[in-house]
């Protein structure tokens, strides 16, 4: 009888007896992944409530519930949590940790203790971030972008937030590092790069972004601290500093960061589509390489956030030109996914529904991203609700939706139980409708000139904000519904078996579900492609005791 990670686990320090301490000190990648999930969703709900509060305030022009200053703090809190605490660590920390080592047949990540330390660094970062809520002058009101000189001159509590962002960044860097080394060193024998599941590719590309882009924002925040507290003049015009330099440094990180969010999400999509199409993925190599090229090109395009900043016009042109090239590999991925569905046998289970829904929403998010990368058009749309709608479509309708898809997909793997399909589907439809109703009107409002970060607005825009509000209400209902369905599934669901979806990748070939400590009984030898189906059934079959192929 093998033990699951709920029974016993490796610990960073000593061999504690109490279950609680075993969880706190665990270095088991699956447990760490779950703990990340728990912390993250707690914060997600805080941020979501902030989002909802903003929608309430914006229901009508004039002041409704909160004043301008509070509103500014609200979107800062919302943005900071959503970006730094929720979505950047997001999929890598949850599924990268709990699923990726299983997918490559490893027993754990390369540096399990570092992994543990990262988790706690992350938690500490979250606490420091929130601590500024009780700072002497209230929570920061800078927006998540911390633009200088505002962030240097406001008297609200910015320092803890900068430090927190630095800590969270550090945790993210080291997590990425850990994954890169894991993928290089711990793949099962025979599994070449082009035999890895596509989710692993996503995590790998993400790892590089985490590693090479995050330090830049780290140092930028440190420079801001140096400036604010030690009086050096880098961004402060009074000493000859240029605020635009801050924008450069900030976006050198924060643009790649958006691909850091989406690439693992695309990975999830690439897992779900073939599994529920019962068919090998179309153009495996192009999908894999497009992840790498999105990551690569993604480093070169940060300037599209600076089209109205006062940057040189020639630089605007160069950045605009480069940005268009991100859309090409992204497009290739989408066409490959759709082509996978051709001649397939499509099972519309909940994860597949989420994946297909995301196709719609993310394509809207991506295409509107292309709109605002046309310089002239962005000069009009920059910092309007068009941009806000774009990034909610990309982040919420892309990343978060795919995270939900992944949650439904790997739910049986991680809990050993199954949720109620019918209710999960209803939750999906509510979310989907609510989401579009919430954000689509904002494209129109933005195009008509509704600026973002406005706590009060001209009555011309009221109708859009009202539609949007009702969308938010539907969305609320859907979200809560979804979490209730999952919770019920976890507590009272039917046992799912190890491979309920008839999937092919290694994480489904375990001898028990939830997976045992140290994962696979034996390391398999991988001489097959990740998505080999024949007549709708996985080609490769294992004897789960010895992990020998029996097909």
């Amino acid at each position: 009888m093998s033990k699951t990670y709920f029974d016993e686990t490796h610990c960073a320090i000593g061999h504690p007896k109490s279950t609680f301490m075993q969880w706190m000190l665990t270095i088991d990648h699956k447990r760490i992944g779950l703990m990340y999930a728990a912390v993250m969703f707690t914060f997600f709900f805080v941020a979501v409530s902030m989002g909802f509060l903003m929608r309430l305030e914006l229901f009508a022009p004039g002041q409704q519930f909160i004043d301008g200053h509070t509103f500014n703090q609200t979107f800062t809190l919302h943005g900071v949590i959503m970006i730094f605490i929720f979505i950047v660590p997001g999929i890598p920390a949850i599924f990268g940790n709990s699923v990726m080592p299983l997918m490559i047949g490893a027993k754990d990540v390369s540096f399990p203790r570092l992994n543990w330390a990262n988790f706690w660094l992350y938690v500490a970062g979250c606490i420091v971030a929130l601590s500024s809520l009780w700072g002497p002058n209230g929570f920061a009101d800078t927006g998540w972008t911390f633009y200088a000189p505002y962030s240097l001159t406001t008297n609200t509590t910015v320092l803890p937030l900068l430090i927190a962002a630095f800590m969270l960044g550090m945790s993210s860097i080291l997590t990425g590092l850990n994954f890169i080394v894991t993928i290089h060193r711990l793949r099962a024998p025979g599994m070449t790069f082009f035999k890895m599941p596509l989710f692993v590719w996503g995590i790998y590309a993400t790892g590089w972004i985490q590693l090479l882009a995050t330090p830049v924002v780290g140092i930028t925040l440190i420079l801001a601290i140096m400036e604010k507290y030690f009086g050096i003049g880098i961004f402060d015009p009074a000493k000859g500093g240029d605020p635009v330099l801050f924008e450069h440094l900030f976006w050198i990180y924060s643009h790649p960061a958006v691909y850091l969010m989406i690439l693992p999400a695309f990975g999830v999509m690439s897992e779900i589509i073939p599994t529920f199409s019962r068919k090998e993925i179309f153009g495996y190599r192009t999908v894999a390489l497009s992840s790498a090229s999105i990551a690569g090109i993604g480093y070169l395009v940060w300037g599209h956030h600076l089209f109205t900043s006062g940057m040189a016009d020639i630089a605007k042109t160069v950045f605009s030109f480069l940005t268009f090239f991100v859309a090409i590999p992204t497009g290739i991925k989408f066409y490959d996914w759709v082509a996978t569905m051709y001649g397939a046998k499509i099972v519309l289970s909940t994860p597949m529904l989420w994946a297909l829904g995301t196709m719609i929403t993310f394509v809207i998010g991506g295409l509107t991203g292309v709109t605002i990368t046309m310089i002239g058009v962005d000069i009009h749309l920059q910092d309007t609700y068009y941009t806000v709608a774009h990034f909610h479509y990309a982040m919420l309708g892309g990343v978060v939706f795919l995270m939900f898809a992944g949650m439904h997909y790997w739910f049986p793997l991680l809990t050993g139980k199954m949720y109620n399909e019918k209710h999960a589907k209803i939750a999906f439809y509510l979310n989907f409708v609510g989401f579009n109703m919430l954000w689509f009107p904002m494209f129109i409002a933005g195009y008509l000139g509704m600026p973002r970060r406005y706590f009060d607005y001209l009555p011309e825009f009221q109708i859009y904000h009202q539609i949007s509000f009702f969308g938010a209400v539907i969305f609320i209902t859907g979200l809560i519904y979804m979490f209730v369905v999952l919770y019920k599934g976890w507590r009272h669901g039917e046992p799912s078996g190890t491979n309920p979806w008839h999937a092919t990748t290694l994480e489904w070939h375990l001898q028990s579900s939830p997976p045992p400590l140290e994962n696979h009984t034996k390391v398999p030898y991988v001489d097959f492609n990740p998505y080999e189906y024949k007549h709708g059934e996985p080609v490769v079959k294992f004897d789960y005791d010895t992990m020998k192929r029996i097909d």
Partner: protein
């Protein structure tokens, strides 16, 4: 209420037309691309749904080089089209005209107001305008008691002239962004730097200005107005020492004519025939003019053909009608024509019919207009259709004639 900002649809500048063109090209290309992904997706999801496909029939294609090349190259070429339009629409906005051929207004954005400084006028006087937008007053329950106003914070510029905005923020202040939605243009205002943008518009009118870069607590009240006035009116004001131009140029008949583009076909001050007949020589009643505006007309046999219908509607149409019918009298607001029959051409009263109207303020005036008045001399009829704006224009005029 309209869902558009003041002047949003007027396409008043080249940047507005260029950007909108680029936007709509992008829009249609996006629709095509969207359908190219979502169309097949929905179709496949329906056609190959699980209960319709037998396991043996599942295809095992994993490659198709031709397709893959196609869906790389076609979108790429579309992207290049988009890049071109994005670039070209920027090119025009960002290529500054020579300062010698333009009016350079210094714009300073600070928390949370816009200030404008003009070059010295003929008398060496420098106009400095601007100030904060007055916030709406809100009672305890969050109800708006008093709407906010723009005060003197408007930027006045002449039509048909290059205007360069030379913008900066004081050192020690923060980033702002001068955003004119109707012109589809904005540029950040950066402390320590000078940034510029420019425009040139023929369309007389008022346009909203917003601050589009987050700048703190009252970011959402950092509005201003851009008022584009007829050139001569602008000159008159500019060379005076008046704080702000008198008269409400938005609703004066002349401005309304200009905004709706009547002047491109009709001469106003001369007898010249442009495309249509000169309006000066024609003597029509206001109803007749209104009729022509609303329905067009094709009786006179001009080469261009018909006078287009529906160029102006509602209050504007009426204002124009009144103005034209009254023979385009100078600075008077068009709507005053309705009053002069009783109150005299100059508003100073006609003994026996109606009193002098000198120095009435807007509130009283609009009250009388709405409800009429019965008194010792006779009855003042109601003018309920006179709009709020027109009433205030009249009031302003009345105050100016003392």
């Amino acid at each position: 209420m309209s869902n558009r900002l003041q002047g949003f649809d007027t396409m008043a500048t080249i940047s507005a037309t260029d950007v909108d063109q680029a936007f709509w090209i992008n829009f249609w290309i996006s629709i095509i691309l969207f359908l190219s992904v979502i169309g097949p997706m929905v179709y496949f999801a329906w056609k190959y749904r699980a209960d319709k496909v037998k396991d043996e029939d599942i295809s095992d294609v994993t490659h198709n080089t031709v397709l893959e090349i196609l869906w790389t190259l076609i979108p790429t070429s579309m992207l290049m089209v988009l890049f071109y339009f994005g670039y070209s629409s920027m090119k025009v906005i960002r290529t500054m005209p020579a300062e010698s051929e333009s009016i350079v207004v210094h714009v300073e954005g600070s928390k949370w107001k816009w200030r404008y400084e003009y070059p010295a006028n003929a008398n060496g006087y420098v106009h400095k305008l601007g100030g904060a937008y007055t916030k709406p007053v809100i009672d305890k329950n969050g109800k708006v008691i008093k709407e906010g106003t723009m005060g003197k914070s408007a930027l006045y510029v002449p039509a048909g002239t290059n205007i360069i905005l030379k913008m900066t923020a004081p050192v020690g202040d923060v980033l702002h962004s001068f955003f004119i939605p109707a012109f589809r243009m904005k540029e950040d205002v950066v402390p320590g730097r000078t940034t510029k943008q420019w425009f040139n518009t023929d369309k007389v009118g008022e346009y909203d200005v917003e601050c589009a870069e987050y700048c703190g607590t009252d970011h959402s009240y950092m509005y201003s107005r851009l008022v584009v006035m007829p050139k001569d009116k602008y000159e008159a004001w500019f060379n005076s020492k008046e704080d702000t131009p008198k008269g409400n140029y938005l609703t004066s008949g002349d401005a309304v004519l200009q905004r709706h583009g009547c002047k491109s076909c009709h001469a106003i001050t001369t007898d010249k025939v442009l495309v249509g007949p000169s309006l000066k020589t024609r003597r029509l009643t206001s109803e007749q003019v209104l009729n022509v505006i609303n329905h067009g007309q094709d009786k006179l046999g001009y080469a261009m053909g018909a006078m287009p219908a529906g160029m102006a509607t509602g209050a504007d149409a009426k204002a124009i009608a009144a103005y034209v019918a009254s023979g385009m009298k100078g600075n008077q607001p068009a709507s005053f024509a309705a009053c002069s029959s009783c109150h005299g051409a100059d508003g100073k009263g006609q003994s026996g019919t109606a009193p002098s109207l000198v120095s009435y303020d807007a509130t009283l005036l609009s009250h009388v207009l709405k409800h009429g008045k019965e008194g010792m001399i006779g009855t003042m009829p109601k003018f309920p259709y006179v709009s709020e704006e027109e009433a205030s224009a009249i009031a302003e005029y009345l105050q100016s004639i003392k």
